[in-house]
């Protein structure tokens, strides 16, 4: 009985923790995600999300105070141009900052606060992008982390699972795609997983990073990855949760994630891969291989 009560209390605790984290509203109507947090962006990670919407108006995710306005174009030698285009940064409670980039025009100079029902801008194509998209980034300024916005926004009802295209083990002995492999020599291998999530928006299909990847070998958790937040380590962005790899280390090729090393002992091995997207859809693949002694 004590165990049941303990589990109930624990469940309530987790429920409250999860429910308080989903506290923001979408900044646009009918949002479609075209680039997710953690996707490769240049030499680093995408530290926010890009949103397509058929409506143009952009609202704050929560009431907030303007702490920065930027114009995409710099004139005079003292200004910095903004590759994020016309942008506005709002400061919210609990140290959260929300950044709205690629707006059609700079926001009004004389408006220091925005309520959640106010319009702070219009989706545009300012900055380095060409499509009409809103860039949203969340920073937890109390712990100096980029937070995945999709963990704090309502679910968008995506029901399609991520694409799991392949898993390979590679070492000096060679590269072994598991879908084509039945036998593999024992030893230490680098594990790579080819996977992505997809979204249809604006008449195109967009590939983007999944939320998490977990690998089990013979039921034992081995490597994992999750894009909950990014932190800065040695002046480079890395996922806060291990493996804390820079984007150039994690992404070997587009949508191929190098998760780390695994050691295979002789005998049968079941390699299970779980890939989740941000809506909770899951792709699972199990590979059964024979590990030989040489």
């Amino acid at each position: 009985m004590k165990n049941i009560i303990f589990m109930l209390v624990l469940s309530l605790f987790f429920y409250s923790a999860v429910s308080t984290s989903y506290s923001f509203e979408w900044p646009v109507k009918d949002p479609r995600i075209v680039s997710t947090f953690g996707s490769r962006a240049g030499k680093s990670y995408n530290k926010g999300i890009e949103i397509f919407s058929s409506s143009e108006a952009v609202s704050p995710i929560e009431a907030g105070e303007v702490v920065l306005r930027c114009s995409e174009y710099a004139r005079g030698v003292h200004d910095l141009p903004s590759p994020l285009g016309n942008l506005t940064v709002l400061q919210h409670e609990r140290g959260i900052q929300s950044i709205y980039g690629q707006l059609a025009s700079p926001t009004m100079e004389d408006v220091p606060f925005y309520d959640i029902t106010d319009q702070l801008g219009i989706i545009g194509s300012s900055g380095t992008i060409e499509a009409q998209l809103l860039y949203l980034q969340l920073i937890d300024s109390e712990v100096n982390r980029f937070v995945n916005p999709l963990l704090s926004l309502p679910s968008i009802g995506d029901t399609s699972e991520p694409q799991l295209k392949g898993v390979s083990l590679s070492s000096a002995k060679g590269s072994f795609p598991l879908e084509n492999t039945t036998t593999i020599p024992q030893g230490r291998y680098e594990l790579s997983i080819n996977t992505f999530d997809e979204s249809s928006a604006g008449g195109a299909v967009h590939r983007m990073a999944p939320y998490s990847i977990k690998v089990y070998i013979n039921g034992e958790a081995k490597d994992s990855l999750s894009f909950e937040s990014l932190t800065i380590r040695d002046w480079s962005a890395v996922p806060t949760a291990p493996p804390a790899l820079e984007a150039s280390q994690l992404y070997s090729r587009p949508w191929e994630f190098k998760l780390g090393d695994v050691t295979l002992q002789p005998g049968e091995a079941a390699v299970e891969v779980f890939v989740n997207d941000f809506s909770g859809n899951e792709a699972i693949q199990t590979y059964r291989i024979e590990v030989s002694a040489n």
């Binding site: 962006a41 702490v67 920065l68 710099a74 005079g76 003292h78 590759p83 380095t128």
Partner: protein
């Protein structure tokens, strides 16, 4: 009726005495004469490629006007001119002309006709002879020499709001309220977070290698202009002035070449501060949108260009804040630079050279 000759002579003598009393005894103070030497229309002016070959690198003077940029010499010969793709980072003898997408970045040396492709994407700016490419999300910066040599790359847990170079030191101001200092080789020097306000954020950063001073505009409620002495190990606060008309966007801020004066933009004016006695000296009112300013201590002069209804207002002030002159030009302000005591002013598609002559008593 005729006027007698004697009366006429007396009248002239009285007038001459009056003129001498009123004007002749007035002491003429040292000052500057501004002479517009030449104006060229960059859109219609032919490029003088023959001249370009024989002109030393020091004589190539960069400029930008409405849709194009290039180099002239002091005599007004157009040595090179090209259309601006979307925006341009322009140095003394090099440039990076870039598209809106911020891709395929190349530093070009037009004098030696060299190309230096950069390995990053984003928007570049030129500071102190080097190029700094802001990453696409404005949270990272990569530095390159004018010869395309990679210097460093840094990411931050905040939006970059300002960047300046003082000698060998690069200062990066962040929205999280910090300013980080790096050497040009990327090694970390020092950082500061002036926690003085309800919201701590940095809106402007300026460094002076001449005086080893850093100026930072920071905070909301209140906003401050803080002056620091800095070295390799850290910052020491010298003074702090509350900004009466704060901004919630990038603030233009710059030291004079000798580091003795500081110009700082506010919402309504330009604050001028002496860094020697660290007091706010005076404010220069703005009537339009500030585009650029410069302080030339050798001539005790401050130059300001503003945009007002698609035209340019060019103002010259003394080091004490007295306005020498104000002139309006058609066309939006594009460029203000100074070379060997001459000003180069780009407005609309026109480039003007204004020679400054110092006269004394």
């Amino acid at each position: 009726m005729s006027i007698g000759r004697g009366f006429l002579f007396r009248a002239i003598a009285i007038i001459a005495v009056l003129v001498y009393v009123l004007l002749g005894s007035y002491t003429i103070k040292p000052g500057n004469a501004y002479i517009q030497e030449w104006t060229i229309n960059v859109e219609t002016e032919a490029i003088d490629s023959d001249s370009a070959e024989g002109i030393s690198a020091e004589e190539w003077l960069p400029f930008r006007v409405e849709d194009s940029f290039g180099f002239v010499n002091a005599e007004g010969r157009l040595l090179q001119s090209s259309p601006i793709e979307w925006n341009i980072a322009l140095g003394k003898g090099s440039y990076c002309n870039y598209t809106k997408q911020g891709i395929n970045l190349v530093i070009r040396d037009p004098i030696r006709d060299y190309l230096y492709p950069l390995s990053v994407e984003g928007y570049p700016v030129e500071r102190g002879g080097d190029y700094f490419v802001l990453s696409q999300d404005l949270t990272g910066v990569s530095a390159f020499s004018a010869a395309g040599e990679f210097l460093f790359s840094k990411e931050f847990s905040s939006i970059i709001t300002s960047l300046d170079v003082g000698g060998d030191t690069v200062g990066i101001g962040l929205l999280n309220g910090r300013v980080e200092l790096f050497a040009k080789d990327g090694s970390y020097r020092a950082g500061i977070r002036p926690e003085t306000s309800r919201i701590n954020a940095v809106y402007g950063t300026a460094l002076s290698s001449a005086s080893q001073k850093a100026a930072i505009v920071h905070g909301i409620d209140p906003q401050f202009l803080s002056l620091y002495q800095f070295d390799d190990t850290g910052f020491q606060l010298l003074s702090q002035i509350e900004v009466s008309e704060p901004k919630r966007s990038q603030v233009k801020i710059a030291f004079s070449e000798n580091g003795e004066y500081l110009l700082c933009e506010t919402a309504t004016d330009v604050q001028v501060m002496s860094t020697e006695d660290q007091i706010e000296s005076f404010k220069l009112p703005l009537s339009g949108t500030l585009v650029d300013f410069d302080f030339y201590p050798e001539l005790d002069s401050i130059y300001i260009i503003e945009e007002e209804q698609e035209s340019t207002v060019f103002s010259i002030y003394s080091a004490e804040g007295r306005r020498y002159s104000q002139e309006e030009f058609s066309g939006r302000p594009q460029w203000l630079s100074r070379s060997e005591g001459n000003l180069y002013l780009g407005t609309g598609s026109l480039l003007r050279k204004v020679a400054i002559e110092r006269f004394s008593k």
